[in-house]
Amino acid sequence: MGVMWRFWLTAAAILFMVVSSTAQHLLQRSYIPSGTRSTVQACLEELQQQTHITLSYSSGSLDTRRRATLPARQLTVQEALDLLLKGTDVRIVEREDKILLVPADPGPAPAANRVLNGYLKDSLSREVLIGAVIYVPALNLSAVTNSYGFYSISLPAGSYQVVSAYAGYRPDTAVIAPENSGRHDVLLSPVALMTEVKVNNRRQERADHIHLTPADINGKPALLGETDVMRTLQHQPGVQGLQDGSSAIMVRGGDPGQNLHLLDGIPLYSIDHFYGLASVFNTDAIKSVDFYKDAYPARYGGRLSSVVDVFTKDGHMEHLGGQVNIGLLKSSLSLDGPLIKDKAAFMVTGRRTWADIIWRPFDPSVALDFYDLNAKVNYIINKNNRIYLTFFNGRDQFGVRNDPVDARIRWGSSMAGIKWTSVVHPKLFVHTSATYSAFRYETRSKIYDSNNPTVMDYYTGTSRIQDIAGRVQADWYAGTRHRAEFGIKYSQAFFRPVAVDYAESLQGAFADVVATPFQAGELVLYAEDEWKATDRWTLRAGLHWAAWQGKSFGYNSLQPRLYTRYLLKEGHSLYGAVTRMAQFLPLLTNNTMGFATDFWLPSNERIRPEEAWLYSLGYAGRYRQHLTYRLDVYYKEISGCVTYNSGAAVFDHAANWEDQIAQGRGWSYGAEVFLQERLQPFTLSVAYTLSKTMRQFDALNGGAAFPFRYDRRHNLHLDLEYQPRPHILATAGWLYMSGEAVTLPDQIVPDFDNNLTGSFGSGVPFTYNYPSWNSYRLPAIHRLDLAISFIKKRRRYYERTWSIGIYNAYGRKNIIGIMINYDDNNQARLEGTTLFRYIPTLSYRLKF
């Protein structure tokens, strides 16, 4: 409790200092009016010219033709506006980087008697734009497009200027005349290459989540030149990689299995290729990514630590095009285009690794390869209805043939879905989906008889999950200040957690073991309302209820979701979230040494669900126009964490796999800082996390708490971008992470059984003494990655990019494992295994 109090007091003190130190008001700027008598309109224009402040007002609420005189002496903006507005019913509101003149008594919300709604799309491809903003400055009203590019905004009578904007696109301004209402689709034009970065960087991040576009992902240096959405997320504070080189992420003390990975809204169980060298999300297929680490909307559930919501491209409605990517690790080909012009489009991307082909000449005993395939078709039935078909399949294989044993591991995910979106009413958008998702892990061992060409199977161990789901969600744009979202989802999951099939020839010595397959159904109901209580204060409150029901067990979880944001002044906001999440399908992870493995273990009568409470508080601010920053603090408490019991391995004890599981609790707290300084042509980003993450299991470590394996006290990313010319982008990224916490023995002890029986037969004559779990710290991980891209754009669609660079440029020996080795003098010493040093990166991308 004491720790909690200290944590929150410190957090509050830091936030107070930041808020106090950044006070700077537009209204306090001073200027000297000309002193001539003119109209209010002319006075306001003069004020804008002299102070460079944007004023927004509607002639419907302010008589701008009235004549007024301002004294010809130094006035603050506040004083000038007070004089001009004296006797009117207009009040002054400072908002972001502008000043709004709005009706003094908002009283009841303006009588919204018409609804503006529609889609925001790319003007070339007709792709819908997710997370784009449509804004009515005079009313200080805004709406954000949903996951299907739809928006709806209620307007009162009058003529209004409406601005539509999206990162990387030229803003569109339109005047909505009083007689115009209803459908207003907007086509936004992508900006030319020359100004793309500038516009990107001027984007305002929404405080509740991070929104990424392919431009954000492709701009980061990456291992082997393979850009990856998961690696890009590692550059966010609060997010860290598993080990050096891994694309998997851990968010605020959670393990990788606690992240909800959605591909077009369908959950994926495995997202790693090559044990995390790359993720299954093909950048070529991605339209945008939404990443949440705390303020989860009520529609998300089923995982504790984060949501990575990946949306793939719909396909070009006008033109057949594509993209070729050739890298050192893998290559990909993407094609998209119209099936029926402006009605239906397709997108297909495929990737395959080169690694097996490159590796084979050096070591034929090792087999490693992967592929993945994304496909999507969409059809616009009419202006209000559209359907989507989505498909994904990805497989990995890793094997070692060490005669006479040939051991292989295969794993992969598949998913398919059909979705229908419908604008039922200008204020009501409904999307309905039916989806299928599956994951399979297989470990197989064969024995070769060198005197006999026949191959003898030894055993095959499998773990499998399949689920089918149906969901209906409605987005209801209730009025000018309310936006509600509610939905229902039902899924049925089929599990075969562990099965071991021994070869027929071995049946005498070993019997097959099959954990009883079982099913579980999950019903989810959710609702939330985003309420713009005042011009400055937004509150989003929701509830997510989930019930997990099997034949002999049942759990349910009511999860409140609360997010609030208060706009302090231009560019400065304070926000906070309290959320509860539950996970009925935890991923079994190893808390000490060893590779992480993908065993999804459903909650049942013996394994209770994982649940977490997360409290977070943050401050987002800006200094002038070039420095933006965010400061966040959080505290997370997890119950029901799963891990392996001491000495357990699931495939060794397949029938009673639940016995191999230990459940306990975990907690994590920390502070996060994000800074971005833009001084063209340089952009510097700093993401730093100070955190502590612990676990406690009654069955492990004598019941005492111990550091989580990936408890990294410090995590720092420094990224520098340099773009001297539009077609050259150089990047340097430096990473520092505290070392992993691992469990190592401090002594070896003569073996008990050998001594008890007075014989020497069990193989190893000693046992290890482990003083405490995860009490040994590996050295810190740090490295410098450098890359430079040369972009050439010709005509409207053709663009090619060469990227070269070096990963871990100064060759730091970052450790991913430990072993004892003996030198020439037979002297034992502890040595770390290092994989990635001085790795050259090279990739070629061609868009056509």
């Binding site: 001491s646 340099y722 001297p724």
Partner: protein, 342 residues
């Protein structure tokens, strides 16, 4: 143009400098995880049997398994029978087991508590408190040969009469090979001539009249794996045909009641060669709780785990020694012996 190229040149220069610096790389040192060496005691205090413990010391995990024997360590056992002390004796197993033998002629009694203390001038003092469980009975109900999954097995049924005060049982089967040991009697004790050959030779050379005898001693104990489908066995594999080094059973389901357990022993090699003395010792033990906890962890131990990339987390072995490591288990033992025919 020039103003754009200049920063780029700086960038390239910085890159080359960093790569150049990397040429001066050093090996990344990992700190030694080793802690101080500690006293190790291993063995059982068995009701009605003389005390036979093994004592050693720990070594650094980086020692490559080069153990040193604690030649100056003394072990004392005190309890209802008084206090007995013993010095370590190096025997033919010491160089492979890394321990010295500590033997005391006194026998602990069931239901009594004892303190074992080990003192070493370099390692300090370690002690353990052990309670020997009260008596219980275990009787052989039935044995029969059977075939399971094509394997020849000996099916054994044992009935345990569980007293309310005890609750932790261990079943083991040991293959033992017998041999003749020549003993002589001196100063009130029968002594092995092979272990105290200097004394025996001096007595004979002095013409002393020494009583002598030949005893059959069973040594070279090898564990015979066990298999059981008993639902109350804690380390059973619940249907999987997995060999167990020992069966671990609690009386949670049958406290104070008789309980019959069925298990299987591989039936191969249940015979002796001509002239060979062999027997199978089936031991049913009631053990102290801390010993049971130790064995439960020990049964999960992968002897090869430690620094590899095993998925299974490490196993921490508990100890009942203060300032030391290892385990001295309190045991009340029932033993059934089968002598093999040629």
């Amino acid at each position: 143009m020039r103003k754009h190229i200049r920063p780029l040149l700086w960038y390239i220069l910085a890159t080359v400098s960093i790569i150049g610096l990397a040429a001066c790389e050093k090996d990344l040192k990992l700190k030694d995880p080793s802690g101080p060496h500690r006293i190790v005691l291993l063995g059982e205090l068995i009701a009605g049997d003389s005390v036979a413990l093994r004592g050693g010391q720990t070594q650094s995990p980086l020692s490559g398994g080069n153990f040193e024997l604690p030649r100056n360590m003394e072990v004392a056992v005190s309890g209802g029978f008084g206090t007995y002390a013993a010095s370590g004796r190096e025997d033919f197993l010491s160089q492979v087991l890394y321990t010295l033998a500590y033997n005391i002629a006194a026998a602990p009694e069931a239901g009594q508590s004892y303190t074992v203390t080990a003192k070493d001038p370099d390692l300090g003092e370690a002690h353990a408190h052990i309670t020997v469980p009260p008596p219980f009975t275990a009787v052989l109900v039935d044995t029969q040969r059977t075939v399971l999954n094509g394997e020849q097995l000996l099916q054994v049924q044992i009935r345990i009469q569980d007293p309310p005060a005890t609750g932790y049982y261990v079943i083991e089967t040991l293959d033992q090979t017998g041999g003749l040991v020549f003993r002589f009697f001196y100063e009130g004790k029968w002594r092995r001539a092979d272990e105290e050959s200097v004394l025996y030779d001096s007595l004979k050379n002095a013409g002393a009249n020494v009583d002598e005898r030949l005893d059959t001693v069973y040594t070279n104990v090898i564990r015979r794996p066990l298999l059981t489908y008993d639902p109350h066995v804690l380390n059973s594999s619940n249907g999987a045909q997995r060999s167990l080094r020992r069966i671990l059973l609690t009386d949670e389901a049958f406290n104070g009641q008789p309980y019959t357990i069925t298990f299987y022993i591989p039936a191969d090699g249940l015979s002796a060669m001509p002239g060979e003395l062999k027997r199978l010792a089936l031991q049913v033990k009631s053990v102290a709780p801390e010993y049971f906890a130790y064995l439960r962890s020990y049964e999960k131990l992968d002897p090869y785990a430690g620094f590899g990339y095993d998925n299974a987390p490490v196993v921490q072995l508990p100890t009942n020694l203060t300032n030391g490591l290892g385990m001295i288990g309190g045991v009340y033992r029932q033993q059934l012996l089968w002598y093999f025919n040629e």
